[in-house]
Amino acid sequence: MERTENKSLKIRVMLDKGRRLVMDYPIIFFVFVVFLFGILFVPYFTTSYNMKNLCLQLCDLLIIACGYTFIELNAGTDLSATSVLCVSSVLGGWIMALSPLAAYPVLATIAGIATMLLIGLLFGVINGFSVVRLKMPSFIVTMATMLVGQAFATWFAQVVFGKNSIGGLPQPFLVLGGSGKYFLVPVVISLVMFFLADFILRRTKLGRDIYCVGTNPNASYISGINVKRTVFIMFVLCGLFAAVEGIVLTARNMAAMSTLGSTMFLNIVSAVVVGGTSVSGGFGGVKQTLLGSVFIVILNNAMNLVGVEWQTIMLVQGLAILLATIIDFMLKRARYTTRRRLAE
C-alpha cells in the first residue's frame, strides 16, 4: 500500500506543479494571444520600426510600473506617481536650461538629474510619512499630493518659462532619451531599473519584508519585521522610480513639460494588475509587471495601428484590468482548493 500511495502522491504533485506554473504566470497566455493577434491581423505591426517603437514604449512604461509594483504589493495605491513626472521634469528642465549652470552641459545634466531624483524622493517621503505616521489611507494622501503637484508644475511652467514647456536641454541629458544612435540607452536604463527592483524584491531582506507585510502585517510585526519602516521605504522607492521615469521621458521628448505623463496612470495600473501582482497584496512581483507592461504596450500599439479610437482603448484597458482581477480571485480560490484536496 505504501508504494502506490507514494506514486499517486508524486503524480498529484507533478500535476499541481503544471497547474502552478499557469497560475503563477497566467499573463503569459495573454501576451502570446495579443502578440499573435498583432502579427496576423494588424498591418505594419511586424515592421522593424514598429518593433523599435514597441521597445521604447515598453521602457517608458516599465520603469514607473516597477516602482508602482512595490506599492501594489502592500495593496496600496500611489496616484502621485504621475505628478512626480511633471514636477521633476519642470524643475529639472529649469536647472538644465535656464539656470546659470546651463553654460556647462555636463555639470547641468548632473545637477538636473540630481534635482529630479530629489523631487521623487521628496514625494515618496511625504506620501510615506502621511501613510505611516498619520495612518491615512494611501489613495487619499497620494490624491492630495497629485493635485498639489500638478498645480505647482503648471504654475512654475507659466511663471518661470512663460509657456508650458521649454526645449534647449543639454546634449548629454538628451542621450538618456535614446535619440538617434543612442537608441539603446533608455533600454539599458529600464532593464537596469527592472533588475534592480527584481534584485530588491527577491534577494534582499527588504524584499522579504515587503512580501511578508503585504500578506500579513500582524504576523510580520510579531516576527520582528519593522512594518512601519517597510511601508515607508515602499513609497520612497516608488517616488524614486517615478523620478527616473521622469528623467527618461523628459530626455525622450527633449522638452521639460508641465503636462508630462498626465494620462499614464491607467497604463501603470493595468500593467501591474494585469501582469499578475494581486490586488490584495503579498503576491506578484516585478517579473509579472514586465509581462504586464509588454501586454499593455502591445495592446495599445496594436489598437493604435488598427485605428481604434482612443476612448475605446480606455474601455478595453479597463476591461482587461477587470478580467485580470477576476482571474486572480479565481486562481487564489483554485490554489486554495487544490491544496485542500492535496491535504486530505
Partner: protein
Amino acid sequence: MKKRILAAMLVLALLVSGLFAQGSKEAADDGQLRFGAAISFITGYYSAMIDGIYEAGEDLGIEIVLLNAESDSTKQNQQMENLIAQQVDAIICNPEDSVAIAASVQKAMDAGIPVVMVDRIVDGATPSKMIINNSYDLAYQLVEEYTKMSDCENLEAPLKTLVMVGSMADSYAVNCLNAMRDAINDYPEYYQLVAEIPGDWNQDTALKGLQNALSANPDIDLILTPSDMYIPCIESALDQIGCWKKIGEEGHVRVMSMDGDVNGLQAIKDGYTEADAVIDAVLCGRWGVEYAYNILQGNEVEDGATIDLPGFIVNYQNFDETAPNAYSYGDLT
C-alpha cells in the same frame, strides 16, 4: 532562475521576430493614400478641424487615421511614432506642445513622410508646411476691432471686462489670455479688466467660476472667452441674473468669443453676442490635407513655409457678409 530566463527570452523573441518578419507583412498598398492626423485635444474648435480633415480626405480619396493625444505630449509622440511605423503617406499634426513634438516631426521628415503642422507651430524641427493661425494676433484683433465699432464711441467709463481662461496647460488658451490682457492694457479708456475666470476646458468649473465672478461684481459690461465651448455656460450664467438679453435691450451684457463654432455664430445671429473671431478650423483642416497631397504629388506650391490662416471677425453688424464663409455657417438655424 527559470522565471528570469523565461522573461528575458520573451523580450528577445519580441525583437527577433520583428527583424525576421520584416518582409512578410507588406502595407495594404492598394494605391489608396493614408494620412495620419495627430490631434492634441478635442474641444469644439478641433472637432471642426477634424471635420475639415475628413471632408478633404473624402474629396481626394485619402484614408484618414485619427489619433487624439488627450493633451499628453508623451502619448502624442508615441502616436506619431506609430504613424511613422505604419508608413502613412503624410501626417497632419496639431501638436499638444510645439517643443516636445519637434523630435517626432524630425523623425517623420527623415523617414520621408511630409508633415503639415496645423493651427500650432513646431519649434525645433522644419516641417513641410505650417498652417497656423496666430491665435495671439486674432484675439488681439478681436478686442482691438471692437473699440472701432459704433457702440464704443460715446463710452463714459471703460467697459468692465471678464476674461474667461482655457486650461493653463494648453498653449492656445495661454496665447489668447496673454493677447486679451495686452489688448485691454493697450486700450485703458475702453476696457477695465475685472477678473480672470479659470475654466480648465471643463464646462462645470467655467460655469461656477463665471457665476462667482458675476455675483462678486454684478455690473459687468463685457465677457471675453477664448472658445465657443463656454457660450452655453455664459448663456446659463447670464440668464440666471437676467442679463442674457439681445443687443440694445436693457441689461444686455456684451459677449465676444473665438472659434466661430455653431454656438458662437448662432448667438450672434439671434442677436445675443457682439462678435466672434472665426478661425476657419474646417479650412485649416482641409488645407492641411490639400497641402500634404500637393507635396506628395510633387507639384510644390511656392507660398512660403508658413501659411497664415485667415482669421476674421464676425460681428453682429457685418454678420451677413462675413458669416457665410465661416465653416459652421451651414448648420445655423
